[in-house]
Symmetry: C2
C-alpha cells in the first residue's frame, strides 16, 4: 500500500483558507489542522470540514493539545475539561486523531505509571467520541522527550484509543537511533510527522521552531528513517510538519508544491530502497537519468548587453560559430563550451536564461521532473528542429534535456563571419553560478537534488560586502555538471546596489596563466584585483613566488586546500547582471574559491563605480 | 579624560571606502581596520592612511591576527613570518596596535608558559616596528577563552609591547564577572571592544557572529562593564565591534549614526554613574526629561482615508473639537485623548505621522536628543503659535516635546460644528503601536531608550499569518507613555498583502464592555472576531460565562496573566494603514495581548477581503 501525503497547515503562510487552497492545489491528499489556524478562522469547524471535502482534502489530524497531564489532580481535571472542548471541535471537524504532546509544564507528571494512568483516562474520553490520541514526545518535553519514553508510557497505558505520533525532527535532533521504531507494533503508530533540518549547533526548541526544512532540503537521511517506520507496520499518511521562518512568509502556493515534491521524492526513494531489499512495489516516480554534462548555457541579452557580452566572449577566445535556424540566438563555442546569446527572451532577476544538460534518456528525465511537479515548458520548435524536453527550475531558468550527443547543434547554421583562429585554452564549462530568489533557495536545493538527481555539496557561508551569503553546489558523480546556488541570508533591502547578485558562468582551462595572458591580449575585460589581496595571499598561503607574480600581474585569485588548488579570474560585470570566470582546478580541489568571493564582489563594485564615473554610458551609470 | 569613540569597519556594510566615509560622517574619532576590508580594497595601506587622515579618523587598531601560537615550532616560525607581513602593512597604515586573538586551532598551545613565551617573542617582533600586541580571549578559544586566562598569559609574558584587548561580548557571553577587570593594571589594557547582545540560548560562536548589537540595544549592563574597565585605568578609545546580520546589509551611513549614538549614550550613562559615585566630571550629554504623558497623536490622512477615519472617530465617541489656526489639521478629542488628522503631510510606510509627548523640560529633552544625533526638525509655526521642539524617530515619526501643560491647544480654534454630546468612555491614549522598517528596529530600540529615556519592556515573538513578528514596548515609570514597536523577523517579500503591517493607536477605557456596546451603537466599524476564538478562549482561560457572552457579542479579545487581565477590541483597517484599538487593563496587567495578535491579523485580512469582494470602492479593492 502506498502511503498518502499530508501537510500541517502550520507549514504554510496565510490564513487557513489560503493554506487549504494551496495544499489542495499542490495535490496533497490530506492536512493536519493546526489549532491556531482554526482559532483565527472565520469558518466554523463544520464549515472547515465542508471546505476540505470540497477541496478533496481529508483532515488527518488535529493538533496540538499541550500539557495534558498534571501532578495536581485539580489541574488534570481542568485539563480533561479542556480536552472535552477540543474533542467537540474535532467532532464538528470530522477528524478522528488528536495529537497530544508530552508536557513541558512544571507540573508535568514524572512518574510513568501515573502518567500512563492519566493518558488512559484521556484516551477513554476520546474513545467516547470515536477519537484516538496520538501521543508525541517533544525533544524538550519535561520528562518524556524521546520516542522510547513515549512508547514506554503508551505501552503502560494499554488503551486501544491511545498510540504514538512519531516526528522525525524530535527523534533525529536528539540523535536517537530510529531503528528501535521497528520494535513498536504498527497498530500503535497512529501518525507520522516528517521534517528535515540542517545541522545546527543551537537550542533544540529554537532549531525546531525556526529552521525545519522539507525532506531532502536538510542533512538527515529521512528515507532510512521512513524505512524503519514502514517496516514497523505504520499505515497512515506521510505528513509534513515544518516550522520555517522563510516558508512562514512565502507564497503558500509555491511552498505547498515544494512540500509535496519533497514527500513524493521521499516516498519514491524509500520505495526504491524497499524494492532493492525486498523486490516490493514498483516506484511511482520514473527513474530519470542523472545529467552527465553541460551541453550549453544560454544568456538572455538585449541591444545593450548583447554587444558587450559578444565582445567579451570574443576576448575570451570564443568564436561566434552559428545562428539558430528560426530564433534570434547566436552560438559561441570554444573547446566543448557552448554559449548561446538569446535576444528573444527576457530573464527578470537573472541573466542566465537556460541550461542544456546531457542526459542518457531525456524523456525519462522529463517524465521524472513532471512526476515531481516541476513545470514542464511548452515546446516551440520549427520543422526538423531538435525536440528538446525542458522544465523550469525554481528561479525560472529553463533546463533542457539534450541527450548525450550534440544533435541540437543541427538547429544552428554556421555563422558566415566565423573567423578561423585559435581559442584561448577554454576546454568546457566548469560551473554555472545562479543567485537564487530569497524565498526559493531551499526549493532549489530540493529541485537540483530530487528532480535532476545531482548531489549536494557542503554549504559555505561568508560575509560579503553587502551582507551574508550562503552558497551550495550540486554535481553529478563525475563532476561534469556543477551548478552553484547562492542566496543572501536576509532578503536584500534598498542599500544593496542593483547588481548586487549577478550570475556567472565559469569556463575551465588547463593553464589559467596562459589563458589569462591570452585573453588579456585579446582585450577581454578582466577584473582588476587589489594588490592588498596578493600581499595577504602571500602571507597566508605563500604560493611559489613566480606563480604569485603571474597571479598578481593577471588578476588571478588563488585558493588551496588539502586536496588541491583553485586558480580563477573574472571578467567585469557585463551590462546587466552577468559575468564570466576562468578556472583551473589542480589536484582534487572540489570547491569554488569561496574565501575569495568577498574580494571579487568588492572588486566588481569598484570597477562598476569607476565605469560610472568615467564612462559616458548612462545605462551603466544607472547601474551604479 | 573623556575616552574617544571608534568603530570597527566590520560593523558596517559596503566596501572599505563606504565604511570610512560613514564612520567619519557619523562623528567617530577613530576606526579599527578589519583585515578583510583592507584586503578587498583597491587602496594601498598608505592610501588608506591618507584617506583616514583626510576624513579626520585615527586608525586605532588593525585586526584580527588569528592562530599565532602553535605546538609545532615550524608552524610557529611560519606564523611569525605571517606576523611580519602584517606588521609591514600596519607600518604603511600608520597604526600601532594589533589585535591577536586566542587560537582556535588544533595546534593551539595549552601550556601557559610556552604560550607566554611565544607571545613574548611576537611582542618583541612587534616592538621592533613600534607596534603593540593586544591579546584577546575569544569566548570559544581552544585553551584561552576567558579574560582571566588571557591576563594570566600576558602577565607571564611580561613584555612591554604586550597587553590585553577586552571585548564585552566574549566576557559577558560566558557569564564572567567583569569586576575582576579592576585588578588588571590599566597600562596593560591596550584596547576595549564593546558590543551588546540579546539573551539567546545558542552556540556562542554563532551568537557572536550574527546577533551582536550596539550598546543599549541588547540585554547587558554595559555601563557597569565600562565602569570596571575605566576604574582599572583604561585610557584608550571606546570601540564598537558588532557582527550583526542586519547591520551587515543596511545603509552604512544610518548604521554608523546609530552606532555612534550608542557610544555617546553609554559614555554619558557611565559618566553619570561615576559622577554619583565620585562627584567626577560633568556629563557631556544633557540630562533630558523623561516623557510623562501623551499630549497627542497625529495621523496623516488624505482625501480618501480622512473621511473614513473621521467617521470612525465619531463612531468611537470622539468629537471634532478644533481646527489648527494655520495648518490643515483637525483636532478630535475624548477624555484626555487627543487625535490630530493632518492632510498636510504624507507618511510613506506608516499612517501615524507624529506624537506629542508631555515632558517637564522640552528644551532639555530636545537638547539631549540633538546631542545623541537625533534629527532635529525645522520649526514651522505661525505668529503666536506654540513653539514645540521636535525630532524625528528612526521610522520618520515626528516626536514633539509639549511641556506638561496643554499650551499647544491654543493653536486650535474651536470647530463650529462640534456637537455637544457624551463620549463613549475613552479616557486617554493607552499605547501607540508603530510597525518599524526592517533595517531600523534595533536603532529604534536605542532611540526610545537612550534619547527619550523610556524603559524597554520584555520582547514578545509570535507567529502571525504572514510571518514571524517581534514586538517590544517602551514606557515611562508611571506607564502614561507606552510605545509598542513591532517588526517582522524577515524583511517581507511579495506575498505579504500590502497592508500587512498597519499601525494603530489604542485608547483606554475603564469599562470596555460598555464602551464597545456604545461605539457599536454609534456605528464604529468594529472588527468581527471569529467564534472559534471564543470557543478556544473558553477552553483555555474559562472567563466568567456572562463576560464571555459579552466578549463574543462585541468582538472583544481577552488575555490574562498572574497580574491581571486585558480586554481589547479593534476597528477595521481604515483606508490605508491605520486602525484603532480600545483597551481595558484590569489589575496590573502590563502587556499588550500578544497571544491575540495573530487572530486580530487574520480577522483584519478577512474583513479586508470581504470589503474587497462586496464593496464598489476601487481604492479598497486595490488594497486587498
Amino acid at each position: 500500500m502506498t502511503p498518502t501525503t499530508a501537510v500541517a497547515t502550520v507549514c504554510l503562510s496565510g490564513t487557513l483558507d489560503d493554506k487549504l487552497t494551496a495544499a489542495a492545489d499542490a495535490g496533497f491528499a490530506g492536512v493536519e489542522i493546526f489549532e491556531p489556524d482554526l482559532v483565527a478562522s472565520p469558518l466554523a469547524p463544520a464549515a472547515i470540514r465542508d471546505r476540505c471535502a470540497d477541496l478533496g482534502l481529508s483532515i488527518d489530524l488535529y493538533q496540538p493539545f499541550r500539557d495534558l497531564d498534571s501532578t495536581s489532580p485539580d489541574r488534570f481535571a481542568a485539563n480533561l475539561g479542556r480536552l472535552e472542548r477540543k474533542l467537540e471541535v474535532m467532532r464538528q471537524l470530522g477528524t478522528d486523531t488528536l495529537l497530544v504532546c508530552s508536557s513541558v509544564s512544571p507540573d508535568a507528571v514524572p512518574d510513568p505509571d501515573l502518567l500512563a494512568g492519566q493518558l488512559h483516562t484521556a484516551a477513554g474520553r476520546a474513545a467516547d467520541h470515536g477519537i484516538r490520541i496520538a501521543y508525541e514526545a517533544l525533544a524538550w518535553g519535561a520528562h518524556v522527550n524521546t520516542y522510547e519514553a513515549s512508547w514506554d508510557v503508551v505501552a503502560r497505558a494499554g488503551h486501544p484509543a491511545l498510540g504514538l505520533c512519531l516526528d522525525s525532527f524530535h527523534i533525529l535532533s536528539r540523535g536517537s537511533d530510529p531503528a528501535g521504531i521497528r520494535d513498536i507494533p504498527g497498530e500503535k503508530l497512529l501518525f507520522l510527522q516528517l521534517a528535515d533540518a540542517p545541522h545546527l549547533d543551537m537550542d533544540v526548541l529554537q532549531w525546531s521552531r525556526h529552521h525545519r526544512l522539507f525532506p531532502g532540503q536538510g542533512a538527515w537521511d529521512l528515507s532510512a528513517f521512513l524505512t524503519h517506520v514502514l517496516a514497523a507496520g505504520y499505515r497512515g499518511p506521510l505528513s509534513l510538519e515544518v516550522f520555517n521562518d522563510v516558508f512562514r512568509q512565502a507564497d503558500p502556493g509555491r511552498t505547498a508544491i515544494d512540500a509535496h515534491r519533497s514527500l513524493l521524492a521521499l516516498r519514491d526513494a524509500t520505495a526504491r530502497r524497499a524494492h532493492v531489499q525486498s523486490a516490493g512495489a514498483v516506484p511511482a516516480v520514473p527513474t530519470g537519468s542523472v545529467p552527465t554534462g553541460v551541453a550549453f548555457a544560454e544568456v538572455a541579452v538585449d541591444a545593450e548587453s548583447g554587444p558587450l557580452i559578444a565582445r567579451a566572449l570574443d576576448g575570451l577566445g570564443f568564436t561566434h560559430t552559428g545562428h539558430h535556424r528560426t530564433k534570434p540566438v547566436q552560438l559561441w563555442t570554444q573547446g566543448e563550451a557552448r554559449l548561446l546569446l538569446n535576444t528573444g527572451v527576457t530573464r527578470p532577476g537573472g541573466a542566465i536564461s537556460a541550461l542544456g544538460l546531457h542526459t542518457a534518456d531525456p524523456g525519462a528525465s522529463a517524465a521524472r521532473a513532471e512526476a515531481l511537479l516541476a513545470p514542464v515548458l511548452p515546446r516551440t520548435r520549427g520543422p526538423a528542429e531538435a525536440d528538446l524536453a525542458a522544465i523550469a527550475a525554481p528561479d525560472g531558468t529553463e533546463v533542457f534535456f539534450c541527450g548525450t550527443g550534440d544533435d541540437w547543434l543541427a538547429d544552428f547554421t554556421p555563422a558566415a563571419e566565423a573567423p578561423d583562429r585559435p581559442g584561448a585554452g577554454v576546454t568546457r564549462v566548469d560551473h554555472i553560478a545562479l543567485t537564487q530568489p530569497f524565498d526559493h533557495y531551499d526549493e532549489a536545493t530540493l529541485f537540483y537534488r530530487a528532480v535532476l538527481g545531482l548531489t549536494p555539496q557542503p554549504t559555505a557561508e561568508y560575509a560579503a560586502p553587502f551582507g551574508l551569503v550562503r552558497s551550495r553546489a550540486f554535481t553529478d558523480p563525475a563532476e561534469r555538471v556543477r551548478i552553484a546556488l547562492s542566496v543572501t541570508l536576509l532578503r536584500r533591502g534598498d542599500w544593496a546596489p542593483p547588481v548586487a547578485s549577478p550570475q556567472h558562468i565559469a569556463f575551465a582551462t588547463d593553464d589559467i596563466v596562459a589563458t589569462a595572458r591570452a585573453v588579456r591580449g585579446r582585450g577581454a575585460p578582466l577584473l582588476a584585483v587589489p594588490d592588498n589581496y596578493y600581499d595577504d595571499l602571500d602571507a597566508r598561503l605563500g604560493p611559489d613566488p613566480a606563480l604569485l607574480a603571474d597571479l598578481r600581474e593577471l588578476g588571478i585569485f588563488y585558493d588551496r586546500d588539502a586536496d588541491g588548488a583553485f586558480l580563477h579570474c573574472y571578467t567585469e560585470i557585463l551590462g546587466g547582471a552577468v559575468f564570466f570566470e576562468l578556472v583551473q582546478r589542480v589536484g582534487r580541489y572540489t570547491g569554488y574559491g569561496a574565501p575569495n568571493a568577498p574580494v571579487r564582489m568588492a572588486a566588481h563594485r569598484t570597477a562598476r563605480l569607476a565605469l560610472a564615473q568615467a564612462g559616458p554610458d548612462p545605462a551603466i551609470r544607472k547601474l551604479r
